[in-house]
Amino acid sequence: MKLTLKIWRQKGPKDKGQFVDYPVNDVNPEMSMLECLDVLNETLIERGEEPVAFEHDCREGICGSCGFMINGVAHGPMPATTVCQLTMRHFKDGQELVIEPWRASAFPEIKDLIVDRRSFDRIIASGGYVSVSTGNAPDGNTILVGKEIADRAMDAAACIGCGACVAACPNASAALFTGAKIAHLSVLPQGEVERDHRAINMVAQMNTESFGGCTNIGECTGACPKEIPLEVIATMNRDFIRGSWKHRDNEVKTITPMTEWSTGSKLKIDPHATS
């Protein structure tokens, strides 16, 4: 099948980007969206042009690396599907696909379809963990967890942190992501201990990053490849209200956002270097 890919091309964070049309004539309907980009990139390399930069890793829909907008929908038209799992048979022959990166201040552009999602890492670092005692491993089943609670925690823990929720949100809010990370711990007995501090710290971090505020529109769950329910946002709100009311010290720890690679990375590589 033949497709026209209208792809956002941008050399680096500070450069001006633009859409470039790429006709791809030998698209196999069995291909995934990323494989289609691979095929395009091979022809671009053969022509001596710069290949389209996009993130990918597992290509089986569980790592959260890939993701971009296809025709105005995060991860494309199929529900509960990442772009690596999206097969080309869902598109019509001759269709034009507008492909652009996630757009949000908190996700600054790096190159082409790659954006900097370290704001998500900082939200997790500010509270997305449980403290455990060192020593011998505890006996199995010493802490009982009911099936319903375990299911709720697993539903929230299914979040792969791809950023589609922020991309789809008209407010560019990270509420679904933060909610999932808070809910998957706070409903469990292991996470209950740090529930109040976790909520206020992670919410403070979310609000320190340049995300917008959640207005309960619900686009996020529609775009989420893991179908995280809006319920996790309510869980975050409940924990946040509870934490704001109960916490005794005024210490809220947040992490300074760093968007510059040169100051933010200890690696001695320049990610903007083009060969």
Binding site: E100, G213, A234, N237, I241
Partner: protein, 229 residues
Amino acid sequence: MSTTAVNLPKSGKASFWGSTNGKKVVMAVTGSILFLFVIGHLAGNLQIFEGPAKLNAYGHFLHSIGELLWPVRIVLIISVLLHITATVQLALLKKKARPVRYSRKEAIKSSYASRTMYWSGPIVLAFVIFHLLQFTAGYIHPESQFIEGDVYHNVVAGFSVWWVSVWYIFSICLLGLHLRHGLWSMFQSVGFNHPRHTPILKGAAAIIAVLIVLGYISIPISVLLGIVK
């Protein structure tokens, strides 16, 4: 990921009001107060169908309890101000959070009402100001005389002007849209969402919104049709 942990000052984004979540809680609480007013106001207005004596007596009753009327008005004014302040701040944040817009963006799961809250709200506010100037202060009384205390006459005379009625019906429909989203959204904002109960809440929000719209617009429609004169 290299990061620096810092303690935010209490007044910053870590405070309750400073956080977007806290603002939504304030919007939910003030919104529910304003919703109670919408219900009470409707119950009062519908007395127009019981004749001039009943409605005017109700109007006099409201003015006779001055020591209660003003506290209620002050609570309502504070609610409106807080509701709008939070909205404006969230709207500014929204603008800042996505400086580069999508060339193409489709809505896949959200309701029309939820996406138009930023529009329905300001229009309803403009309507409320117009409405207060017309029926409370009496500054605007197109093609008729405003008679202080004669509520029934003022309503019938006001709604007899076609564009007043059209503007009223349009604004009330937008209020209905606003409530359609707001009535269930306020529960989400204060942390209540349940897979079994939230769908019922959403349904109830839609039904209540429709009933409120029908209740309010029955008045100008009755005046225009000559049922109430």
